[in-house]
Amino acid sequence: GIQVEQSPPDLILQEGANSTLRCNFSDSVNNLQWFHQNPWGQLINLFYIPSGTKQNGRLSATTVATERYSLLYISSSQTTDSGVYFCAVTKYNNNDMRFGAGTRLTVKP
């Protein structure tokens, strides 16, 4: 099956810093989502982005489908950005979603 690799596995930032999280996938996909899991365990949809670039406030994402990677940018990080960020993809149908192992982000005040 399709493999999803996220890097870095852990990231520690000072408040106000910028960061880039990466997601590589091993095959072509028809769906890619970024999620943020808050410290209480809730996964929140950040972006549905199978290709192209999207922005939502301080967060933006870019997927280069032909090169099989996606990037999540967090600017001016805040302590509330802490948590685990997951990338998830589907190839054939949208019921077969594959998750990466996540990037754990800690933003220090």
Binding site: V4, N31, Q33, F35, W40, G41, Q42, L43, I44, N45, Y48, P50, F86, A88, T90, N94, N95, D96, M97, F99, G100, A101, G102
Partner: protein, 112 residues
């Protein structure tokens, strides 16, 4: 907003007990999913359902069963809980006409 709820946030059960985890969504979504999350492994699909009474195995169905008697409700059943089923369990739903999955708050199950 899509709302997916799970019956318990925390659950402690003994080895051998039968365990029911309930998930309810309020957006009339056709598809519902159960995942488990373990450190370093991300989320792994246990079962999903694309319609009432329909189910499909995911990557790790062993030791689990599911039930979907109503469109809004999807239950995960551990017939005889074991310590290796200690994990975070996440339910999700998705409309058949859209791509995004929406997750519930999770149930952290401990089997002792």
């Amino acid at each position: 907003d899509v709302k997916v709820t799970q019956s318990s946030r925390y659950l402690v059960k003994r080895t051998g007990e039968k365990v029911f985890l309930e998930c309810v969504q309020d957006m009339d979504h056709e598809n519902m999913f159960w995942y488990r999350q373990d450190p370093g492994l991300g989320l792994r699909l246990i079962y999903f359902s694309y319609d009432v009474k329909m189910k499909e195995k995911g990557d790790i169905p062993e030791g689990y069963s599911v039930s979907r008697e109503k469109k809004e409700r999807f239950s995960l059943i551990l017939e005889s809980a074991s310590t290796n089923q200690t994990s975070m369990y996440l339910c999700a739903s998705r409309s058949a006409s859209q791509y995004e999955q929406y997750f519930g708050p999770g149930t952290r199950l401990t089997v002792t």
